[in-house]
């Protein structure tokens, strides 16, 4: 009787998700709500969900929201000597400050609210991207996999992952829909959200230039010129977003590229990524990152197929850039990337029903573990 009731609930949820986009969004929001409920319950020993989720880089984002970017780095902080907020791009703090101002919320609550609102949109965009590629998966299970995925913790914390992911997927979806003007706007905003934003714009521009147009039978000279001008528009728009931040930093600090130069204060120097991976295994407290880096290589390798080559290009480029300055946080750059989550969700959903439910169960357990590690401020999920 109870089993039949559970089956009926699942059937209702599936029908709602498959009815139309509105129904799908309602189901995504409901599943996200259940995920948030779990995170809130797990956060109880740490006071409340808002303060428990503010870890690691949340300090910097909060500082930017409350004090803006300063002319000098931290000179008297023994935990963060010579480090500066310039490494953190302005879009997420700006959204947080605006939200906090209009809704009269404190910094941490506003920052969390921004990500809670963006998270369902990200899941929807990841699904929409698959649809545009004629890849059809179960909508409800796709949402569920995203919500229980162990490395999605940064999307419900005060980090810039959500805004970056939404803009990246929005740029891809608008390009696939051949709305290049809108894609250029997404690229401009993407470049103000994270340091890798502009690099992603360049990759998208190259992908757009070399990808086959829909009506490839009419591939005439004008279409080629159009593609070239589209790609230039994307790069120029992405560059303009980054340029605004460069000029602002030049005005505040005297150094337009302070966001890159300040990385030395975190002991990050450019080096061949393989050396950084080897170095990680030599130090006990960095071995986990070495393992993450190897697993990342495996996943990116699996992505290298005709069907997933854009995912491989973008995630691979991100991993290469990140690991060239050290492997700390590589798990966030690769496994929390929406394109990786999309890929892994599709691989899981292509298995048998039994395996899918086993995967979901294992992921829920791992999700609980990573959430608790996050609240404990463990270096394993930095």
């Amino acid at each position: 009787m109870q089993l039949r009731m559970i089956n009926n609930i699942f059937k209702l949820v599936r029908e709602t998700a498959n009815r139309n986009y509105k129904g799908f969004f309602i189901v995504i929001s409901f599943v996200c709500f259940l995920g948030l409920l779990l995170s809130t319950l797990l956060a109880l020993p740490w006071g409340n969900f808002v303060s428990a989720s503010c870890r690691w880089d949340c300090f910097w984002y909060s500082d930017i929201v409350e004090n803006g970017y300063s002319r000098l780095p931290l000179l008297y902080d023994p935990l963060r000597p010579a480090q500066g907020a310039w490494a953190f791009f302005p879009l997420y703090p700006l959204l947080t400050r605006t939200t906090g101002y209009f809704l009269a919320l404190n910094t941490q609550s506003a920052g969390l609210l921004v990500n809670i609102i963006l998270w369902p949109f990200l899941i929807f965009l990841c699904y929409r991207d698959l649809e545009l590629r004629n890849i059809h998966v179960d909508r409800f299970l796709f949402s569920a996999l995203f919500v229980v995925y162990p490395f999605n913790i940064w999307y419900t914390a005060q980090y810039s992952e959500a805004i970056y992911g939404v803009l990246l997927m929005a740029a891809i979806v608008t390009l696939r829909s051949e709305r290049v003007g809108l894609a250029a706007l997404m690229c401009a905003l993407l470049s103000t959200s994270r340091p890798t934003g502009f690099i992603m714009t360049i990759c998208l521009s190259a992908w757009w230039l070399f990808s086959t147009p829909r009506d490839s039978k009419n591939f005439i000279r004008n279409a080629v010129y159009r593609r070239i001008s589209d790609s230039l528009l994307l790069v120029a728009a992405g560059g303009a977003g980054l340029s605004l931040f460069v000029l602002y930093l030049f005005y505040v600090t005297g150094d337009g590229f302070a966001f890159a130069h300040v990385e030395i204060a975190w002991n990050k120097k450019f080096c061949f990524f393989v050396f950084n991976i080897f170095r990680a295994f030599k130090h006990k407290h960095e071995r986990a990152f070495g393992i993450y880096a190897l697993l990342s290589t495996l996943v990116i390798g699996k992505m290298c197929s005709r069907k997933w080559w854009l995912n491989a290009l973008l995630v691979g480029t991100t991993a290469l850039l990140a690991s060239s300055t050290g492997v700390q946080s590589i798990e966030r750059y690769v496994f929390a990337n929406p394109l990786t989550m999309q890929f892994l969700a599709c691989i899981t959903l292509s298995c048998s029903r039994r395996l899918i439910w086993i995967a979901l169960t294992v992921m829920i357990i791992m999700h609980i573990a990573t959430t608790l590690l996050w609240y404990k401020e463990s270096i394993l999920v930095i």
Binding site: L75, D255, G256, I264
Partner: protein, 66 residues
């Protein structure tokens, strides 16, 4: 209709050129930082240590403050 398409293409090209000029301007600005010697040595040239930079900057600030 062809003339209209020509004008919209021209506007598009001019807009791209404007954006690229802006990008080039900010890139050139970024290549010439106006910073202290200690800042340049630590953050850009990596020729001094973290402690040396902090000491030099604190000393500079104490000279400026009354």
């Amino acid at each position: 209709m062809v003339q209209g398409k020509y004008f919209s293409d021209m506007i598009r090209i001019k807009f791209i050129f404007l954006l690229l000029s802006f990008d080039a301007f900010s890139f050139i600005k970024g290549l010439k930082p106006h910073v202290s010697r200690a800042y340049r040595d630590y953050y850009i040239l990596h020729s001094i240590t973290n402690d040396a930079y902090l000491n030099a900057t604190r000393a500079e600030l104490s000279k400026v403050k009354p």
